[in-house]
């Protein structure tokens, strides 16, 4: 049961197409799990469509139709839905992984691995995090907003337990210490605006996120 959803503003920006591309990947992935939010986005798309039909129209050039007509016979690349290799994963994640080969896990700490995702944009660091069963991530805070989406398994922190599909936003400065459930590893999608740093003197050395960008 999904308990944590993107808030209205995120979904509005997603539907309007103004949400940063990196963050849109997280929202899109949440929709894969969440029928409720799919419907919310559908309703928001109606708003966009209504604004489109309501706008003051601007006449197009006389020759535009001919120009388009002349291009209709050119074979258009068919958008074939990529055969999902893993139905459980959001399709967008599947597509990213199939483009870059498979996930290349990097060792960060004994209980945490990370695989970067290549998404064609630099504004956000998009990565998969895998916490070993029962493992915990060093307490850290964020310099920028971090979105976490649980893709597989579950984890908990001071505030609660998060299961598949749960969508969490941590603002800069919020400190937390995620802990994977005992029985299974937890895989999360993480989208971070700026580098993350560990709190605590030793943790700084272990900062798994340092590899992104040195402080």
């Amino acid at each position: 049961m999904i308990k944590h959803h993107p808030d209205d503003n995120l979904l509005i920006e997603f539907s309007a197409g103004t949400l940063a591309f990196g963050q849109s990947i997280a929202v899109s992935s949440h929709l894969h799990f969440c029928h409720h939010c799919q419907q919310r986005v559908e309703r928001l798309n109606h708003v966009g469509a209504s604004l489109l039909t309501d706008v003051e129209s601007v006449p197009v050039s006389d020759d535009l139709l001919d120009s388009v007509m002349a291009q209709l016979d050119a074979p258009t690349p068919k958008r074939k839905p990529a055969a999902p290799s893993n139905q459980k994963m959001p399709r967008v994640i599947d597509k990213i992984l199939s483009k870059q080969g498979k996930a290349k896990w990097e060792f960060l700490t004994p209980s945490l691995d990370m695989a970067r995702l290549h998404t064609g944009q630099q504004q956000f660091e998009v990565a998969l995090h895998r916490i070993k069963a029962g493992g915990s991530v060093a307490q850290h805070d964020h310099r920028g907003t971090e979105i976490t989406l649980v893709l597989d398994g579950s984890f908990s922190d001071e505030n609660g337990i998060y299961n598949e599909g749960d969508f969490l936003v941590r603002d800069a400065g919020q400190v937390h210490r995620p802990l994977a459930s005992r029985d299974a590893p937890c895989i999360c999608l993480s989208v971070v605006a700026a580098p993350v740093r560990m709190t605590g003197p030793f943790m700084r050395l272990l900062n798994p996120f340092l590899s992104f960008k040195p402080l």
């Binding site: 209205d8 503003n9 509005i12 920006e13 309007a16 197409g17 103004t18 949400l19 940063a20 591309f21 849109s24 990947i25 929202v27 899109s28 929709l31 894969h32 029928h35 799919q38 419907q39 559908e42 309703r43 928001l44 798309n45 109606h46 708003v47 966009g48 469509a49 209504s50 604004l51 489109l52 039909t53 309501d54 706008v55 003051e56 129209s57 601007v58 006449p59 197009v60 050039s61 535009l64 139709l65 120009s67 388009v68 007509m69 291009q71 209709l72 258009t76 068919k78 958008r79 839905p81 399709r91 967008v92 597509k95 990213i96 483009k99 290549h118 998404t119 064609g120 944009q121």
Partner: protein, 218 residues
């Protein structure tokens, strides 16, 4: 086939929606209007009908151009470039249009939105070969197909509700959807705190969604 669907979905007159006589007529108009374009898309898909395509183009291109030019993101030439791209996609993907899942205008809106996202990304030198907007907006829903009627109804009620929004709310909403501005860009432009922009957008949408929700259950 469409005609059958419509007539099945047409007990609108018999629906409990007798409170708003005016609403009923605008909904029926919207239904007919949208049905025209759904039918056009079906003919484009099945018969590769250029006449239907030309009609679709002539109706929607000026709206698309206006939509894309609103704000200062795209000039006239850029907007037309994008209109062409969108219309060629309409021709190429018409067979994917499913009138039980979406209305013609919502379908077109999503194509235009995605094309605009990728266009803006190309302008900022993002690597669009890695991933395109269509990858983020895969149609995974479809568990609860809406009828043609519900779509037209929803859209018309949204249009009505839009007109009834306070100006300040309508303004931020239009900036977000039509000018493709993020909340923080709108806040900078209007000199309003980000929180104010967010709450206005949220209030506006809440009002619209309340109306849509009410209609959908009516």
């Amino acid at each position: 086939m469409m005609a059958i669907k419509i007539s099945q979905a047409h007990p609108l007159g018999a629906s409990p929606d007798t409170r708003h006589t005016r609403r009923r007529s605008t909904v029926t108009e919207a239904l007919q209007r949208d049905d025209t374009w759904s039918l056009a898309l079906n003919r484009i898909a099945q018969d590769r009908c250029r006449k239907s395509f030309a009609a679709f183009f002539q109706h929607f291109s000026p709206l698309l151009k206006g939509f894309l030019m609103k704000g200062s993101r795209l000039n006239a030439a850029q907007a037309e470039e994008l209109v062409q791209e969108v219309m060629i996609k309409v021709w190429g993907r018409a067979e994917q249009f499913d009138s039980t899942k979406s209305s013609a205008t919502t379908w077109l809106y999503t194509i235009a939105r995605n094309s605009r996202i990728d266009w803006l990304r190309r302008q900022s030198n993002a690597q669009t070969e890695e991933l395109v907007a269509d990858d983020l907006y895969e149609d995974e829903s479809a568990e609860t197909p809406f009828t043609q009627l519900q779509h037209a109804r929803n859209e018309q009620t949204v249009v009505d509700a839009l007109a009834s929004l306070p100006d300040e709310q309508a303004l931020v909403l239009k900036k977000v959807y039509m000018e493709s501005k993020s909340h923080s860009e709108v806040s900078t432009e209007l000199g309003l705190p980000l929180g104010t922009v967010k709450s206005r957008v949220r209030l506006a949408l809440k009002k619209l969604q309340d109306v849509v929700g009410r209609e959908a259950c009516a």
